[in-house]
Every structure is written in structure tokens, then in C-alpha cells.
Symmetry: C2
Subunit: 650 residues, 2 copies
């Protein structure tokens, strides 16, 4: 430790205090604009600023000028591929939401066009999503029976889509995108897996050809409902369903093993629909217990602004449904967009995406579409089919438009059981057991979060699972915050580095000095804990030294390197710690307090209380000074102060 | 930086993985038993363990054997002093809670005795508290009118006291004491100040002798109620009230300025009651619009177990009231206990205190007492009167017992207006504007929290203020957690220390190397933010270097010293950061990752991905290695790997 170089000791100074408004401005900026969206506007002429501003809010203006024919070819192929998936998925998920199948097709026409203008992802394929569809069915179904009052039910679904969009756009405009971050990855894995399980269970209705079915979504009710109706099972439907399910999972399995089979997997849902419809048409199975879609209206989305039921007695329900489904749809869509952006190494702006999602849902709710987002399956197909830009969404919308205008009658004979198979096949991919195993291996707590939200969804309901997931995630934040780590540091031999003696067993404790590192900002949520913990460290150290009869404890050095900030509760705890240490006849020394902390310690006179000369830049300097004192004089407050000054003046 | 000593470079190793159960055990222990209550039981014979265990749960067994006659003398003086305060305060706060005055006296008899057995504070004087009384009145008053249905109202108050006690004891047994820590100091200052303001406003009813008064507690309603009733004001009552208020504030003012006046202040409430009662008795003012307490039943607390209304339709209300008032009472009591323990330098165990509070309220609810806690005013008087142990509570209870048995008729003529004055005088002390000014000076955000909860209480209601305070406090935790600091490090000249260049302007950036320090654990709540922020730091650095035409950026060193832990979301963000840095043609280097982090990085194969040779113990070593590479060869992945190995083998 002879390295302590006291001639030119760099003092830890109190940084000049910034005016209140400028520090408020900078902290607000860091909170709400961490991505600094205005950086590209700096030092630009006003005309250029206008162009950049337009491009910022309508990203298509940014990339359209650079669009090439090669891109277009790739996008057409990808767009047609996702359209073959969009049509059956659209119909399937709409039936999952208890909505007329045609609304699922409408929802693949307008929203993708809006997203193509406003979205910043190049890969996201817009469409309806299973989990949100299920949530709509379960939340609105509690209030209005979709079979007895279909018109009102559709109105409520459109209204809640409107609120979902409004909420999403508002979050984006207020730059509160980080709220979505609070649904951790583990939560989403568990929640999605649970929802996929529940959706699969619901499809047993279609596969077994049951007419009556429970409205509850939990495992117990569904199994009860199925077992009590064994005499109602339709074997024709069941056999058909199992065959198609087998076919679909087989193609998925092969496409995963060999990239050449990708197209087979991408086309499989459409093929199933065509095959199923042909089979029913030829065998007239619809007369033998195989339910079919039936008549679908021809024509594009009818306007539905007048259908939005703002005056309805169920307004609160639609708002609640809108907010919850909106957040879920956002979380899924943004997570999917981000994952694919990561592959191609471009950047997605969460807040801009929220505005795009919100706009597309508001526009959708006025044109007979229900909630849309970026489903994983469709986006993955888009990515694998070689989609380059959001133009693939436009191509998909065009293909859906053609379907709506001319091809709807072809779906008359499509058996519902095929739709169920398509949904199950898609859902099986969402049960990400490998991710769960990975969580177990890497982080047990994350695994607990994941499995709790899974079980909450499967045995409770989608809402219960969501609440459990959010509560556990928040609880985790709270525990993270309330129980920060502290550790004892020791000297790594032959260096002036001090590290945790737990992590580096060869690090040596310094006789007579206890060096503690605090690993978190100190504030109200953990201040009391830290006080107890520090006093326990000192107790432990004193007990140990007492029994070993070596040199007694004289100094406590707090390494503040990791204390990024402190609040008034934290400061009063520091004061208490100092008083406690003084009473024991020891001396408190601080090492490397950060600027934010120094500022507040100064304002609250703590620096005066402890003495500027007891604050060091590094642990090594602090230890050097303490050692000097230990070996030259017995530390009592007066003598120590003088000798430090001497030390500094040497 | 020639100090890099590559011969004996201490490697950052992955710590041996602990079995799951033992790491779960240690983290549960750290979360729920940070004070390690079992440490004194270690290495003790079984008989001693039993004694220690009893002493742990019933602290009186611990200190009673050491009790001396000197202590007793001091405690008798202090006990009688607080009894003179307890009697008028008990009556006053009971009327504040719309309960019969006698219940206030009962509440100063049983609970102090229970606390004396179980409590770990030597200074806390037990009694009813103003804020909780007000809360009971406002929450129960919404359901049952205390004037129309006094019996039911008393039953509900006792039942909610029972639930408050049950909740408090449960929190203690489950060692969830840290929940109280989430009410930050700033929140409590604002909330208490607001509640005190509201209580003062309520007393205007008594001072002005009004009979009808609003049930709302907010400033606007109260002022409206007073202004519309100007013709109902009773000047006799008003004059009396103002005189006593003046007297009481005067004694308080003098006692603060000179310690010798302490006794005058302590006795002032009792003196006021005696003086007021005499005045009314002599002038028969009760016939001229001055309301008096009237008949008080003689005798000790009647048992009230049968009064607890568990079967009532208002059960939910009593549970809710119990939980909320219980938490508030706890927060106040524990804060008060801790403050005084700090003065005398002994330790208070939060969880044990909760059990003591819970037990005393459960016992209280069975003996006609309503919610009690440790009020600041009474405890301060106890402390200043020289109370040494909880025996002063026993003395107080004895004095109250004597009052109940023999002296209650003396209160017949006590005017209500004197009680109002006593309450107002006590409340004025709770409006801690000096603390608010201190908050403003030291931490603006804390000030905002404080003032919002104040305004919430004063202009909304006590519950609204509480909700605002809790929400803002939680929001603060969320923002703290979601927006950690990052900073660029530079070399402090003539040392191998690297520090933030914002804090130490003379620190020099190292050419070609960007050193970033992350100041928080990385996990789901801040992972996305950190990814954006790191990529922005790199953008900024590249822009800067591009314009200056110096050596380009080649290495990014992440100083992980302050990253105490990481979860799976954090790891995937690190992977993304690495991929992003790789794409830019740069190299990611880690410095000083902690053991927890190393463990998880290892399990998730991140260490393999980055290469063990790119992880250094200190920033200085990392910089040394990068510099070596920069000046010996152009960094491309292959060449760099080899040269590092050479570097290590030299």
C-alpha cells in the first residue's frame, strides 16, 4: 500500500451546484427521452428540420426514397406468403374472440396499411393475436353473451379496440414506453405459455365438435366440461382435427430441422384450409357433425365509427378491456419487433412503435377491425420469406383485399375443426419450454416468476395470471431495491486493488480496518436495512477480532463507488451510521463518493460532520491514510484530525 | 498506465456454484432476517437458549433483572408527567374519533401495560394518536353515523382495532417490517403535516362551538361549512378556546427556548383542563353555549370481546380501516421509537415492535380500547422527563387507573373547547415546515413527494393523501430503478484510477477506448434503457472522434463494479450490446464483474461468447491490455485473441 501518493492527492470535491431548473430538465430528459430523439435535428437548417420531423413521425417517408425494385420483389414474395397465413389465422382468431370470422379478415386489411406508414420495424407483420383475442372473449363475454346479443358484442369489441389504440398512442406520446419494460422477459414467457395452453384447451371444443362448452378458461373447468360430455364427442370431427394437427406439427417440425422445408410450413395453414374445405365439399361432412364457417359477406371493411358504443352502459368494461388488451398487445408486438430488429441490427423506437400501434388500432376500430398487433408466427414467416420492408404488409393487405372482394364464398365449406388445428399448431410454438429451462438454469427467481404466471393463467384465468405476473415482477423490483448487497473488501496481494473477499478468497483483510462496499443507491426503501446490515458487519468484525486478540477494529471505510444516488432518508441513515460508529469509538471514512452523493452530503452538512479529510478518492488511499494513523498514533478524534492534516501536507 | 502487471494478473474467475437450496436459504435470510436475530443463540447451552428465547419475545425479562431503584425514581417522575398528558389527550383524541371520551382513557390503561412487557423501546409512551383517530372517524363515519348509532359505531371501532392489531402482529411475525420503510421520511413529513392541518381545521368546530359541521375533512368543505354558519358562532366558546390555545402555544414556545420551562409545557394540558373546568363550574358557562364533556362512567375497562362485530355487514369496512390505520399507526410509532433510540444509541427491532404493537392492540380491542401507538408528543415528554425504561408506561397506566377509579366525575365540567385547544396545540408541532425546507434544500424530488402528500390530505382526504404519497413513493422507486446512471470514465493523471469525467474534470479520456460505468444492477426494469443509453454513448463518442480525426474508437470497456446483480433480461441486453458493438467493428471488454454477475454470465454462455481473456479485474488492467493491442496490431477478432494470450504469457 506504499503506493499512496500523498503529494498530489486528488481530492473528492463537491461539484458546483447546478441551477434547479437545469438539473430538473436534464433528469426529465434522461427519464423520458433516453434515446435523445432530437439529436439528428441538431445543427440542421429549418427546411431540413421539417423533412426530418416528418420522417420522424411517418417513417415511410424516410425509407421510401431508397426503395429499390429488388426490395420490391422480395417484399411481394414475403407479402403473399404471410397473406396465406393471414387469412386462416384471421378467421381462426376472430372465432377465438367470439367475433364473426369476417372481422378477422377485415383486421388484416386496414391495420397493416396504417402500420406500413407509421411503423419503424421492417419485419413486423401486422395481424390479430391469439392472447388478446382470448382476453377480449373472456372479459367482454362476462358482460354480454356473444351468441344472444352478437351485435352489441361486436360493438363492444370495436369500442375496446378504440380504447386500446387510444391508450397505446397516449403511452407513446407521453413517452411512457418504459412501462412495457416492467413486464419482464420471464413474465412474458410464462404468461404467453399459459395463454397458449388455455387457447389450445379452448380448441378442444372445435376438435371434438362440442356444441355446449364452459365459458371459463381454466384447466379444471375445461377438463370437467369435456369429460362430462363424452357422449357428445363427434368422432368425424375429432379424426379430421387430429389429422390436420398432425400434418401441421409435422411441417413445423421439418421446417425447423431443414430450412428448405420453410415454404411447406408457411403454406401449410392455407393448404389445410383448401384440403379441409375440399374434403367437406366432396363428402358433405357438414351434414355429419362437422361444423363449417358458412356464409361470409363479400366486400371490403364497412365503416364502423357509428358502431363505437361510447354511450353504452358497458363503457367502463370496454375501457378496462381496452387498456389490458392494449398493454398485452403492445408488449407482444414490441418484443417481437425488437427481437427481429436485433437480428438485422437496426433500431426500433419503443415510443414510436406505440404511436404506430395506437394509430392502427384507432383506424381499425373505425373500419370494423378488432385489436391487432405484431404476432410472432406471422412476423417470423415474413422474416424467413425474405421480407425487406413494411411493403410486405401492404402486399399482404392487397392480397387480403382481393380475398375479401372475390374469394370469401370459397370459405363456405371450411370446417371449423381445421381452424382449431391451425390455432393449436400456432399456439404450441408459443409454449417456450426451452426458455423456461434456460431461466431455471440461469436465474431461479426468474423461473419462479415465469412458472407462477403460467400456473396463474392455466389454473386461474388470463387476468389472474396477468395480475400474478405483474405483482411478482413488482415484488421482485421491491426486493431488489429493498435488499441491496453489501460486502467486505480485502486487498488483492501485490496490487492496490480492493475486492470482495467472498469473490476473491485470496484477498486479505486489512488489520484494524473494516472496508464495506455498498452496492446500490441509498434511499428510503433500503436505508433502514443498510443501517442494520452495516451495524451487523461491524458487530461481526468486532466479535471476530475480540476472540483472536489481534489489533482491535479502529476504522470503518465505506466504499461508495456503487452508490449512484442518495435521498434524504439515505442521508439520515448515514448520519445514524456515523453516530453509531462514533459511539463504538471507531472512525468512519468514505471512499469514492459520486458527484450526486457528494452534492447532497454537502448540502445536508454531512461532509462537515465527517470532515472533508476523511473522504478519499479510492479505497487504497483511504486504507493508506488509516494505516498511517494506526501505526503512528492511537486514534482519538482530536489527534486523528491533526495527523491527517499533517499527512496531507507531507 | 504502465502499472499493468501482467505477470501475476489476478483473473476474474467464476465462483463455484452453490447448491440451489443453500443459495435460496441465504437470500431468504438476507431478505427477512437482515438483523440476524438468532446470532446471540449461537454456541449457547439449551437452557441458556430457552432464557434468551423468552427474553427475545418478552423483552421485559431481559432488562427487569438489571432494573435499579434509581431507574425507578426516574420512571415514576416521567410516568406521572406523561399521565398528566395522557388523560387530556386520551379524552381529546377519542372525541376526534367520534368515540365516547371514556374510551380514550381506557386506551391509556391496558395497551401501555402490554407494551411494557413486549416492547423494545425504552422511551416510547403508548397512547392514542391523532391521525389514526381522524382516519377511524372518516372511514367508519362513512358507513355508520356515530350520533345516530353510537353502539354499533363503537363496536366497529373496536373491531377495526382488533384487525389493526392482527395485521401489525402478522407483519411482525412474517418479518415483513420492511413494508413500513416504503413510506419514506418525506412522505411521512408531508402526510403528518397534512393530517395535522386537517385535525386543526376539524377543531374549529369545537372552538367556534358549532353543532352542525361537515363530515368531509378537506379544506374547502370545512371552510365552506364555517363561513356559511357565521351566525352560529359562539363567542364565549371562541374566546375561551383562543385563550387556552394562546396559553398552550406560549408554554410550548418557551419550553423550546429554555429547557427549564419543560415542566410547564408538560403540565400545561392538565392545567388547562383544570382551569377550564373550574371556570365553567364557577361561571356555569355550560348554560351559555360552552359544551362540556359531561358524565363519565367510573371504573376500569369493561371487557369487550363480545363487542367485536365479526358477523356484522360492515366487516369489510372494519378490515380495511384496521389495515390502513394499523399501518399508519405502525409507521408513526416505529419512526418515533427509532428516533429516540437513536439519541440514546440503542437498537430497536422493527419486527419485534410490530408484534408488540399488534399484541397491545389485540389486547386493547378486548378491553374497550381503540387503536394505540406511540405518539410523538407523549414520547418526547417521557424522554425529556427522564424516563429510563418502559416502567414509565406502567406508572402512567397506574395513574390512569386511579383516574378511572376515582377521578372521572371531575371531568364533568371540562369544556370541549379546551380539548380542541389541546389538540390544536399538539398538532401545530406536527406541521414540520423546517423539515420541508430542509427537503427542498437537499433533495427536490423528496420535497415534491412531501408537498404532494400534504396537499392530497388537505385538499382531498386523508386516504387520498395516503394513496398519493404511496403512489409517488413507488413511482420514485420505479424511476430510480428504471433509469440508472451511466457515465464515461477517464484516467486521473499520475494514478491508475479511473473516475467519471463529469465529476473529475481533470480526468483524461483514453484515446480509442470508451470506458462506461453502469451504476445499477441490470435487470428487466432497466435493461432496455441501458441498451439504448450505451448505444447512445457509443454514437456520441464515434461522432466526436469522426470530427476530430484522431484515432478512431476501437474498444468499449464496461466497468461493472456497480452492477450488483443481473437477471435474464439483463443478460440478453448484454448479449445485444455485444452484438451491436461487434457490428460496429469494435470490441467489448468487461472490467470487474461481481461474483453474482459472473455466475450468471457463465451459465448463460456469455463469458464464452465474449472470451474469458476480455474480462479484467480492474479498469486499469483492461485499459492496459487494450492499449497494448492498439499499438501493436490492428484489432480484428482472431489476431486480438492471440495477442491477448501472448500478453498473458509474457
Amino acid at each position: 500500500m506504499g503506493n499512496l501518493d500523498s503529494e498530489c492527492r486528488q481530492k473528492v470535491t463537491v461539484p458546483p451546484s447546478k441551477p434547479f431548473l437545469s438539473s430538473l430538465k436534464s433528469s426529465l430528459k434522461e427519464t423520458f427521452f433516453p434515446d435523445d430523439p432530437l439529436r439528428q435535428f441538431k445543427n440542421q437548417p429549418p427546411g431540413r428540420k421539417l423533412v426530418l420531423g416528418l420522417q420522424y413521425f411517418v417513417p415511410i417517408l424516410e425509407w421510401a426514397p431508397r426503395y429499390t425494385f429488388d426490395f420490391f420483389k422480395a417484399d411481394v414474395v414475403a407479402g403473399i406468403t404471410i397473406a396465406t397465413l393471414a387469412v386462416p389465422q384471421g378467421i381462426s382468431y376472430a372465432t377465438l374472440a367470439n367475433l364473426p370470422p369476417i372481422i378477422g379478415l377485415y383486421s388484416s386489411f386496414v391495420p397493416p396499411l396504417v402500420y406500413a406508414m407509421l411503423g419503424s420495424s421492417k419485419d413486423l407483420a401486422v395481424g390479430t393475436v391469439a392472447v388478446a383475442s382470448l382476453l377480449i372473449a373472456s372479459m367482454l363475454g362476462k358482460e354480454v353473451n356473444p351468441n344472444q346479443n352478437p351485435k352489441l358484442y361486436v360493438q363492444l369489441a370495436l369500442t375496446s379496440t378504440f380504447f386500446a389504440g387510444l391508450f397505446q398512442a397516449t403511452l407513446g406520446f407521453l413517452r411512457l414506453g418504459f412501462i412495457v419494460d416492467f413486464l419482464s422477459h420471464a413474465t412474458i414467457v410464462g404468461f404467453m405459455g399459459g395463454a397458449a395452453t388455455v387457447v389450445c384447451l379452448q380448441q378442444l371444443k372445435g376438435i371434438l365438435g362440442l356444441v355446449h362448452f364452459t365459458h371459463a378458461t381454466d384447466l379444471v373447468s375445461v377438463m370437467q366440461s369435456i369429460i362430462t360430455q363424452t357422449h357428445q364427442w363427434r368422432w368425424e370431427s375429432g379424426v379430421l382435427g387430429c389429422c390436420f394437427l398432425f400434418l401441421l406439427t409435422l411441417t413445423r417440425y421439418f421446417s425447423k430441422r431443414r430450412a428448405a422445408f420453410f415454404w411447406i410450413n408457411a403454406m401449410a395453414p392455407l393448404m389445410s384450409i383448401i384440403l379441409g374445405s375440399l374434403l367437406v365439399y366432396l363428402t358433405h361432412a357438414e351434414k355429419h357433425g362437422v361444423q363449417v364457417i358458412g356464409y361470409l359477406k363479400k366486400g371490403l371493411n364497412p365503416p364502423s365509427l357509428s358502431e363505437l358504443a361510447f354511450g353504452s352502459e358497458y363503457l367502463m368494461t370496454t375501457i378496462k378491456t381496452g387498456i389490458i388488451t392494449g398493454v398485452i398487445a403492445l408488449a407482444e408486438g414490441i418484443a417481437v419487433g425488437r427481437s427481429f430488429a436485433m437480428f438485422k441490427n437496426y433500431h426500433i423506437d419503443g415510443n414510436k412503435e406505440m404511436i404506430a400501434f395506437g394509430m392502427m388500432n384507432i383506424a381499425g376500430s373505425c373500419t370494423s377491425c378488432y385489436l391487432t398487433s405484431g404476432p410472432f408466427s406471422r412476423t417470423a414467416v415474413n422474416f424467413n420469406a425474405g421480407g425487406k420492408t413494411a411493403v410486405s404488409n401492404i402486399v399482404m393487405a392487397t392480397a387480403v383485399m382481393i380475398t375479401l372482394l372475390f374469394l370469401t364464398p370459397l370459405f363456405y365449406y371450411t370446417p371449423l375443426v381445421v381452424l382449431s388445428s391451425i390455432i393449436i399448431a400456432a399456439m404450441l410454438g408459443l409454449i417456450d419450454y426451452e426458455a423456461a429451462i434456460h431461466l431455471w438454469k440461469v436465474d431461479k427467481f426468474d423461473f419462479v416468476v415465469c412458472i407462477s404466471s403460467y400456473l396463474g393463467v392455466v389454473f386461474g384465468s388470463v387476468e389472474i395470471g396477468l395480475v400474478i405476473a405483474v405483482v411478482i415482477s413488482l415484488l421482485r423490483v421491491v426486493i431488489f431495491v429493498a435488499r441491496p448487497r453489501t460486502c467486505v473488501l480485502g486487498n488483492i496481494p501485490k496490487t492496490i486493488t480492493y475486492r470482495s473477499i467472498d469473490q476473491y478468497p485470496l484477498a486479505n483483510r486489512v488489520a484494524g480496518i473494516l472496508i464495506l462496499q455498498i452496492d446500490a443507491p441509498i434511499y428510503f426503501a433500503n436505508a433502514n436495512y443498510l443501517r442494520e446490515r452495516i451495524s451487523r458487519w461491524i458487530d461481526d468484525e468486532e466479535d471476530k477480532l475480540k476472540s483472536s486478540e489481534k489489533i482491535g477494529l479502529q476504522y470503518v471505510i465505506l466504499d461508495m463507488s456503487a452508490v449512484g444516488s442518495i435521498d434524504t432518508s439515505g442521508i439520515s441513515v448515514l448520519e445514524e451510521v456515523k453516530r453509531n460508529i462514533d459511539t463504538r469509538g471507531l472512525k468512519l471514512v468514505l471512499a469514492n463518493p459520486r458527484s450526486e452523493v457528494m452534492k447532497k452530503l454537502d448540502k445536508s452538512k454531512f461532509i462537515e460532520a465527517i470532515g472533508q479529510e476523511w473522504i478519499y478518492l479510492t479505497v487504497a488511499e483511504a486504507v493508506g491514510a488509516c494505516n498511517f494513523m494506526l501505526h503512528s498514533c492511537k486514534p482519538n478524534s482530536k489527534a486523528v484530525d491533526e495527523s491527517t492534516e499533517n499527512d496531507n501536507n507531507v
